[in-house]
Structures are given as structure tokens and as C-alpha cells.
Subunit: 277 residues, 4 copies
């Protein structure tokens, strides 16, 4: 029997759960898993429900809409792999980790293509029989290059775009073309060491722990909603290059974990934060 | 406004959430937080709901009982400190950590008494103006001693009993007198190193990580449902005594975390496992 | 037989280890443990050696001085508890944790006194039969208050001063009175969230991990050499107060670990970093 | 200038460091890094020294031999990639992780070949232009199969053999053919859950943390000296398959870390333990 994930994002109100579960019950659906969260500051209500049964999607959405506040966001996703496009540049460690996990069946995703602004990663990607496209920025303005990127990305109609060390700064236009759909890995334990070469900064500062952060991309560089973070211990004997290498291992794990959360429809965004249910 | 925690443990069935939320709604109560879990193997349904409102406890329980399967367990606890009795023997590290946290207001508990089978810890406990009782096992059979312990414990009608390195083996009688109410800290990463002197065992085995485990006490020594575990890295330079010292820090943290979960009514037990919502 | 810890901090040079070990050998001393580190950037050489034997301290130091570069720092500490003074203000969690560990024999220290700028913690400290002094800042300039603090501190000739949530900003004069001898706990994962109310900052930013940092106090507020750091996971359901509570547990562990490293003479400082051997 | 790693494993004695460093000094060599450890129980002395200079290997070894006890083990390895053969069966996750790291230049190794007892992994391995050999056990006795494995392995004269989920039990003959040269990853936090399907065991037991262990292979199945371990949190919502998936991520990380330690000549073995310097 098919599994669906119902995602509701609305304003808290008495009887919400009752009204929602009433509709599910009337439609003869079973709740396999359910979690709710109400943010006490904003009184925003978030609900993620895994349901099974013979679902008539349009009817269900219509009936839910009727019992929910006007400003509600209601999503009903069948539990299935999401179409994804990965963007990269030259670095292979994060991309390679995703590809090998994909090969291994670890990702609930269909990687439709890898698009890079350099040729370096073509061999790696093609090993895995995944289409690779190079959209060079050579001699193009940022806007011109992005238009070509967007055009290429849209060919694959991805639900998610994963930046696997894509080293170009994105314009508002790009970001707003894919709201809440672009996942990035930042090579530092945000908000520490924002900006260039965080590992060198970390080395100079003599920190004992370094980390990485996966976040949604927004107009604010390195300031998007944080989805997942992890850290690793380092010590005085690490050169900044060794810190970078240690950090790369964290980057892989952090991006992988955040990616899975998105693929499983577990992440809500509000204000500049995430709720993970 | 008072907060209550509703705990439901029953068999999964279509419409459960609907029927429960219907009753809450009809009683004009608000759901602040809610999580459910259905165990796919046993089809057991667990629900923890934080509700606010003007609650008529008997009516609410009666109405919930009417809409739930016969075998259901329904608890409705006002959110308030629980009465606790701590049992100890001679070791002070875990007890001391609890006492200083209690002094600091970190525990949602009323520590009614500390009862030990030796005098060693009297000074420590009395520093914190908590009643200390020594029930010596001197010249008593295990059963005789336990009867005296039970008698003393019952004077304080505790909801929870915490074994803070209480080094006596408990009989079935004792365990069954307080079902799902006795919390123990085991000084190893169960199920590794069951039995005596786990740190010496760990040292001999040359492990690189040691841990501790907090679990409910059952008839099966060291085999009760696990509530919380944590670990710490060690290396070749640790003597077994140093491993023990490192382990003691984990024991404190693990017992504290498990204790908080119980105080917050977040732990369900089924089969020999815990569900934490 | 007495154990000594030999600490050498000098410029790297061929034959250093040979010359040092030659002196130790000539003095009929045994090396129990030894680690060296050479910083490749600065060619600074650090060595920590645990030696046993019948030591004539002056002779040994004289002979070592003869074989080492002029700019060398040579320390020879008998392995024994260090005299410590703790400074505090009103918060009890870090202080309480230190006191209970001290009571439990976990610290290789003699806590000579706790000095605070308020009376709040007197009861707690006196429970443990440790002298408590309140040096109020009431109506005093920062300099006047610090002079009184320094006067009181010096009565106890401490080797180390531990700031257990001492909430006063220290002047250069104070810092320079006790170079590399003042340990502080900062309630954030430095360099993230420098400044006031880091937990509120962390909450606003929606981070998934928070931490704490123990560092030497220098003129640069929150910028001293980092000794130890640790972190804990948090999620969207944490209010900033709950983040603070989770953070307090990390603060305790971090300060304790850094304190132990100092008590064991394992920390060297160079540039604005620490080498831990 | 070439870097060498000097590894000494002997019985502790006064003047050891002096005598060793004297030889190094006389040979005009520089000590870049040095750590020693003396096991207090056995009085075994372990030393790892990174040296640079113009080394005449035979002379140096001869002179060191002269100043060290007879039973000493002295190794002098040039810092360079080690030749490695990987054994596998059908599972791709650990092998794939090693291959992608190898591709990415993370491993100080030359992977000469992957040898498996099934054909399943040929495609994966050959993507990376690494020779793949299938030595089927079809219709062979354990001894016959191992003889063919040994024959194939020896073609590549590997310094290290890595078992990347090689699911065959090894005989004493095999183990003794490659003493202290066979690295295995065990899919549990040893010594917990020894034997078949540890994840199912862990699930049944309801543990809150699972782990993995990398160890040298000895005659004692799952009992060899432990090199590295790590863990990950799980909870009641994990099926045993989900625990296995979570565990696979730990297996990768643990094997990678242990492998690096061996490649960097940082691991000594004594009794059934490892010293890591």
C-alpha cells in the first residue's frame, strides 16, 4: 500500500489536530507516524504525518483546506525518490561521497544530472553513468552564467538542488527561482568563521573543534536556515591543511544527513530557522 | 494556566488520533505538543501530548477511556516535580552530581530522602539538608534487608526510585514492588562488559571507547529496558583506574539524562525496550 | 619515589632531545613518559617529560640550562596538587560542579578559597568547608575593586585562578598580574557568539549544536588561547533558556577538562594558541 | 628532504631515549616529532619518531641495534604510500567509501588490487581502474580457497591487507601468513554483539547507541587488538535495517580512521591491545 507524507504549516488554533485527523479518518486513512510542533514565540503550527491507505489526493487536499486556516501550507507527497540536480565546481570529495552513496542505494533520490562550471569532475561523474554538463562561466557576467545554469537545471525539473562545493556566489534571482529548494554545505561550524578559508581562520584561532554546516541557500550568504551540523576534534598538531582534510570528512557527513532529511520531507522552514519533525 | 501531560499506550487502530483529539477538543483543551509512535512489529501505539486548559481530570479520563480500546493505558499527569527517593551505598560521584544539580534547581524532582546500606554518605547528603537514612544489611538476609528498605522507602511514597550506585542485587519482590519505577545506572556500555568490574574488563580488552547505560531495573540483572547511553574515548595510556574515572563522568551524565526523561514523562516501556517521545 | 614533570619550551635545534636526555641520564633519572612537538611555522620546540628518580632540582635545572638555547623556558614541577583560588559571582552551576568533584577527590588541586563579588554563593561554598570571601564592587571603581580582589587572592598564593562564571570584565593590570594563570569558561563555542547572551544569539540563529570554550584569560576579552571545547546537540524545540541549560552542562564538562589539563601541567602557550602534550 | 618514521618496541630501561637520540644526533638527523610510551604493567617501551636528514638506513639500524636491548624491534620506514590489497565479498558500502577516498587522494596507499570471492563488485572496482580478481570458493574447501587467495594476494606483495566486509572466516594459516598486517572492520561496538547480525541483536536489545570496531585479525574471531571505534545514536524508531544503515556509516568512518593510522605507522601491538602514538 502506498505511503504518503502530509506536511502542514499553519497558525496554531484549538482543534487543529482534531480537524485534520477527522478528515484523515473520514477518508479511511491510517496514521503511521505523526509529529507536531508549535513554536511558542510565533504560534506557528507544524505537522508531519505519514499516512497509508487508498488516497484520492485532490479530495483529501480539498477537505483539509476546508478545515484549516486560510494561510495554511498543505503538502501531500507520495513517499518516493525525489529528482535532484547537483551543482559542483572542482572539488570532488563531497560530490564523490554522494555519488558512491547513490551507487550504493543509500539516497532516496534520482540524481538527474551534475552540472559544474568546470570540466574537472566529468570523469568522476561519468563513472557512475550520470549525465555531466559543464556550463563554463568563461567570459560571462554572473547573470549571464546563471541564466545558462538555470536553463540547464530546468531541463531536469529537479525538486531539490544540492550544492556540492559549488564555489560560485548566487544572485537573488537564482535563489528566488528555487525557494527552499537549494541545499548548501558550508565548510565551517556556522556562525564561526564566516567567509573565505575558514580552516585557515580556525587554525589561526587555535580552536580544538571544527565543524561543518548544511543550510538552505538564501539571499544572505552563509546565513540561510541551518539544517544539520556536526563537528570533529582537532589539536595543535594539525596544520590548516590537515584541519581542512578533517573538515572535509565532516562536510560529507553533514551534507549527507541534511540531504536525507530533505529527501524524507522532514524539514520545515520559518523565520530563518528549521523545524525538523 | 496548568500544563498536563497525557500518556496513552494502546493498540494501533484507525481513527485513534481523531478520537483522542476529538475528546480533547470537546473538553476545550489546547494541544501544545504532540508526538505519536506506532511500533510496526507489535502495532503498539504510543502518544505523548502536552495539553493546557481548564481540565476536569476524571471527566477527561472517562471520556478518553470510552473512545480507546479496552487494553489501553491512559495517564494524565500534571506537569510538576515528582517525589523521588535515591538509594546509594558508598560511592559518592553519582549521588553528589544529583545533589548539586538538585541544589542548582536542574531537576524537576523533590528528593524526599537518600537511603543507603552504609553510613559513608551521610555527611554529603546532610550538607544539602536532605534526610539521610542508613538501613544496614549487617547480619540480615537479603530478604530481611529488602523488607526494611521497602518499609523505609514507602514512608516517602516516591513516584521514582533512583539507584545512584546502590550496590545490592535486588530480588524479584523488590523489583515487582516498584514496576517501571526504579532507575539504575550501569557502569558500562551495555551489553558490553556485563558483570563485575567492567572497567577492568574494558582495560583488558583494550577498547578505545567506554560508556555507561541507564536502564529500568527488572528481574534480569543488567538486562532492563535501556533509557539512555553515552560514551567517552579512552586510549592505551589509561590505566583501568583512569578508565573508571573517565567512566564515572559518563555515568553522571547518563543517569542525569535518563532521570530527566523520566521526570518529564517521556519514556514508554514495551517488550524490553523504551520508546522516548 | 617522587614523580616530576619537566616542561621545556624553546627553539628547535638538532640534538635537543639528545642533550636533554643526556642530562637526565647523567643524573640517573628515568623517563616514564615523554612527548615532544615542534611547531613547523615557528620552529618552537615543546617537551613534556615525566621523570622519576632522586632529583636534585637546582643541579638538574642548571645542567639543563647549560645545554639549552638562551631563550629557553624550563620548568620542573613535582607531581602534586596545585593551590587554586576560584572566582565567582552569583551563578552556582560551574562552581557547584567543581566543589562536588573536589569533595569527591577528582581534582588534583587544593582549593584555598572562593572569592566572589556577591554573597549569594557563601552557603554553597561553606557546605564544603572551603573559605568564602565576598569582595563587593559596591561603590568602587573597577580598578579599586580589582585591587581589593588581587590583595585577597594573593593571600593564598595560588598557582592557578579559575573563573567559575565570574562576571566582571578584567583589566590589563589584573590579567598581567597572573600571566597564563587565569582559566575562564566562556559559554559559547568560540569564536561563534562572542559577547552577551550567546544562547539567545544561538537560538535566534537556529543552530543545531551549541558549545562551550575554556581558555586562558588575556587582555583580549574572549580571545585568549583555547584549551578545551565541547558541544551538545540542540533542536528547534529548545527555547533559548533550554539551550542555556543544555549549555551549562557543557560548560561544566569543558571547564573541568581544561582545569585537569592545567593541573597536570599539560598545556603550553605560544602565539595565541595552546599545545597540549 | 626525505622523512622517515622510526618505530622502536623494546623493554624499558634507563637511558633508552638518551641512547637512541645520541645515535640520531651522531648521524646528523633531525627529530621532527617524537612520542614515547611505557606500559606500566609490562614495562614495554614504545617510541615513534619522525626524522629528517640524509639517512644511511643500514648504518643507522646497525648503530641503533647496538644501543638497544637484544629483544628490540626496530623499524625504519620511509614516509611513503604503502602497497595494499583489499578483500571483499558482495557488500559495497565500505569498499566504495575506500575507493572514492582513494580516488580523492585521501589515502596514503597504493591499492594494488581488490580480491573478492564473488563477482558482484567487479563493476564498482573497475570504475576506478583498479584490478579486480574473483577467487570463487565454489566447490573448494576453506583451505583450498584460502591457498588460492594467498597465492593471488602474494602476487602484489602488499604491506597491508584490508578486509572491507570480506565475509569469510579466516584460518590460522591465513592469519599467520600476514601477522599484524590484516585489518578488519567489525559491524558492532565490540565486545558487544559478537557474532552474527549484530544489528538485529542491537535492535532486540533496544540499545540507544550502536558502533563499529576496526581491529587486527588474529586467530580469535572478533577478538583481535582494537585500533579504532566509533558510535552513533539510534532510537526506538529505527528498524534493525535502519540501524544497519546507520551502522554502515560508522563502519566506513571507523575503517577509514584505522586504515590511516596503519598507513601512518602509528600503531603498535602488545598483548591483545594497541598503542597508538
Amino acid at each position: 500500500m502506498k505511503e504518503y507524507i502530509l506536511l502542514i504549516d499553519t497558525t496554531d488554533d484549538k482543534g487543529l489536530v482534531y480537524n485534520i485527523s477527522k478528515v484523515l479518518y473520514a477518508n479511511n486513512l491510517n496514521i503511521e507516524q505523526n509529529s507536531e510542533y508549535v513554536d511558542p514565540d510565533t504560534l506557528k503550527f507544524f505537522m508531519r504525518t505519514v499516512i497509508t491507505g487508498d488516497i484520492k489526493k485532490d479530495i483529501l487536499l480539498k477537505e483539509l483546506k476546508e478545515v484549516l486556516p486560510l494561510n495554511s501550507t498543505i503538502k501531500l507527497n507520495e513517499k518516493q525518490n525525489k529528482d535532484v540536480v547537483i551543482l559542483a565546481t572542482k572539488e570532488s570529495h563531497v560530490l564523490g561521497d554522494l555519488l558512491i552513496r547513490y551507487f550504493d542505494g543509500e539516497l532516496n533520490a534520482n540524481i538527474k544530472a551534475v552540472i559544474a562550471n568546470h570540466e574537472h569532475l566529468r570523469d568522476l561523474v561519468e563513472k557512475f553513468d550520470i549525465p555531466f554538463y559543464c556550463v563554463s562561466a568563461e567570459g560571462l557576467s554572473r547573470e549571464e552564467h546563471e541564466d545558462k545554469m538555470i536553463e540547464k537545471i530546468n531541463e531536469f525539473e529537479p525538486e531539490l538542488i544540492v550544492l556540492a562545493k559549488y564555489m560560485r556566489i548566487l544572485t537573488s534571482k537564482f535563489v528566488n527561482t528555487y525557494p527552499k529548494r537549494v541545499l548548501n554545505i558550508h565548510h565551517s561550524f556556522l556562525p564561526a568563521f564566516i567567509g573565505a578559508n575558514p580552516y585557515k581562520q580556525a587554525y589561526e584561532r587555535g580552536v580544538k573543534i571544527i565543524g561543518a554546516t548544511a543550510h538552505y541557500v538564501t539571499d544572505d550568504l552563509d546565513e540561510g536556515p541551518i539544517i544539520f551540523q556536526d563537528v570533529v576534534r582537532v589539536d595543535h598538531s594539525y596544520s590548516w591543511q590537515e584541519m581542512r582534510n578533517a573538515g572535509r570528512n565532516v562536510e560529507k557527513i553533514v551534507l549527507y544527513n541534511a540531504f536525507q532529511l530533505l529527501l524524507d520531507d522532514k524539514v520545515f522552514v520559518y523565520k530563518n530557522k528549521t523545524v525538523i519533525l
